[in-house]
């Protein structure tokens, strides 16, 4: 019975809340909203485009072709013995997912300030929805990746997927957490400094060059290897190539360190996000 409030719960609003209160139950109550946000993302992006959802496939293909020509053919960067196209495509697919998670999450507050100022719903639903829609995009591109791997294998290239591909969900989860974490930190900062929105694009691009998307870790000079070690995206990209293409440098300790760092950044991002969520309408 809806009209009997004594049976209902109290919602209490106070100045302070526990730091790490994820309010997952509330987010779960709004799962329909998340689903609708995901749907909105897709419908709104591809309405009134001629090629529509085909862009999901064309975008990584074109990027890969550009990389193959510039870095493979002209600069002749070594690719651990994997065919250039496959090497770059695997990097692009993985990186796209991660980069989209960051950029979408980082605009959570700035892009939704109008709605956030008028109605309450758990703000976390917005980044969660973007991560899910990115996951769908990733799924589509991943299928294309598998098709291309199969085609190269048929042609007799030295490509050896192993049973270790089962780690894929772990890699995706790690990227999602790292992406949300960094995105949340940036989105929280952009409520005060809008300039950061501009910097995100460059930052992500720079990060890509330092993450082994363009060149394998084995080619990095020894005095710069530390950069590869502290970058939690390197083991993800390298592992992805290692399990699907059979080449790359993967060390367990580094995988573990990357995973731990990702979790830490994720939690940090969520804490900051929750803090900003409570008062951001006062400052934007």
């Amino acid at each position: 019975m809806q009209n009997n409030p004594s049976a209902l719960e109290w919602t209490v609003l106070t100045p302070r809340k526990p730091l790490l209160d994820l309010r997952l139950r509330e987010v779960w109550q709004y799962r329909d909203l998340i689903a609708l946000f995901v749907r909105r993302d897709f419908v709104a992006t591809y309405k009134q485009t001629v090629l529509g959802p085909l862009w999901f496939l064309l975008q990584p293909l074109f990027t890969t072709i550009v990389f193959t020509v510039i870095f493979g053919k002209i600069a002749q960067l070594p690719t651990d013995g994997i065919p250039d196209f496959l090497f770059f495509f695997s990097g692009v697919v993985v990186w796209n997912y991660f980069a989209d998670c960051i950029t979408k999450t980082s605009t959570t507050f700035s892009a939704n300030s109008g709605v956030f100022g008028k109605v309450y719903f758990p703000r976390m639903t917005v980044p969660i929805a973007s991560v899910i829609s990115n996951l769908i995009t990733f799924g589509i591109q991943f299928v294309l990746f598998l098709v291309i791997v199969g085609w190269f294998m048929l042609r007799g290239n030295a490509v050896q997927p192993s049973w270790k591909v089962v780690v894929l969900p772990v890699l995706v989860l790690q990227m999602a957490m790292l992406g949300i974490g960094v995105g949340c930190l940036v989105s929280a900062l952009t409520t005060r400094y809008k300039d950061l929105n501009m910097a995100v694009g460059f930052g992500v691009q720079l990060w890509m060059y330092a993450s082994g998307v363009i060149f394998p870790r084995s080619e990095v000079p020894a005095n710069l290897q530390w950069l590869m070690t502290i970058n939690p995206m390197v083991p993800v990209v390298e592992s992805f190539r290692y399990v699907f293409l059979g080449a790359g440098t993967v060390e367990i300790y580094q995988l573990a360190a990357g995973a731990i760092l990702s979790v830490v950044i994720f939690l940090w991002g969520v804490v900051i996000f929750n803090r900003v969520e409570r008062t951001f309408t006062d400052t934007i």
Binding site: P5, L8, T11, Y30, R40, V115
Partner: protein
Amino acid sequence: MSEVIKVEHLSKRYRLGVINRGMLYRDLQSWWARLRKKEDPNAPISSRVSHPNRIEHGDEFWALRDVNFTVRQGDTLGIVGRNGAGKSTLLKILSRITSPTEGRVAMRGRVASLLEVGTGFHPELTGRENVYLNGAILGMSRAEVRSKFDEIVEFSGLSDFIDTPVKRYSSGMYVRLAFAVAAHLEPEILVVDEVLAVGDAEFQKKCLGRMGQVTREGRTILFVSHNMNAVQTLCKRGIVVDDGRIVFDGEAKAAANFYLHRNAPTADSYKNPANRAGTGAFRIEEIVFTDEHGHPRPEPVNGETLDVRFRFRHHTTRRFPAMQISVTFGTTDQINVFNQRNTLKGVAFRDLPETGEIVLRIPRFPLPAGEYELSYTVKSEPRGGEVLDSVHVGMAFTVQDGAFFGTGNSLSRISGLCLVDGDWRVENGL
């Protein structure tokens, strides 16, 4: 009945220096200015001037101060107050858009707040998709929206266009669809801002009608408004917010009365007008609105007698054999509604004392509720005399709805800029 909302010692502070900066560059600029002991170029000034008693420690602004009240289930509570009194902040905290600085709020049941209709509508999506999206943003589950979908579409009257992207809608269609969704929310507590009650008369009526229906279903409504008529018809109880505090809590009628009659000066805006002309030998120092008994009426009520008191002072020993004072009441968009002057009525002002009051009495004040401005000119006569004091848009004020027609009915400004009484009857035959 049981309590559904408990607000205890609620305060909200804004830090003036932090608001609306938005750029690293600005922060650096402020920091540099402070370093050189200069005035911060980014310091907000408007709120400092208009609410001096709410500023503390230089940059802390208390939008709400120790607010306490409880609401029982099924109550309809009207929250009234001037612009900037703290109503909107209270509304935002109750809607969970922002958090309190001190104190706590406890609410039982689902809370829906309507501060705007159509929040989150996406232009590329169709009407149908937007109904689901908007419903979800307002807290409805997909199943709930689905079960009410036909009702919503019927209420909006847009069944032919429901699969058209809303970017092709006219603004009227857009609002109708958005309101239809909002009207079908079924929360235990509904928080409504008066923005919902503006717009065309038909829409307003539909909105208020729907709210009345919701109350009869035993739900709790908080209604924030300037419109005393709406508050009195819709609400049982009213609280008046002023300067961040609750200054009255009681029956809606009493609250409306309190709000209309409280002794708040509005002549502040007048005292030193910038747009002043004239020789200055004679000046209007202050303009005060009162009722016929001399009680201050900062916001005139239409249908009541209004005395406009011009407090004057001669600034030289010169006295004038004849003077004309002309007063124009106009809308805020510079349309003159009516003019009144002493010479029209054959009243002569000659050899006035050094100080005193010129009083203009307007019986059955005829302006519909809304915002207005007053301008005046004082000239020495005869014709062609010098302008002594003239202020264009000297004072802004709000007119409240009263009992102009004596029936409880009122007209909005959309129907006409002036209220005129009339008698209606029927005569037989041609």
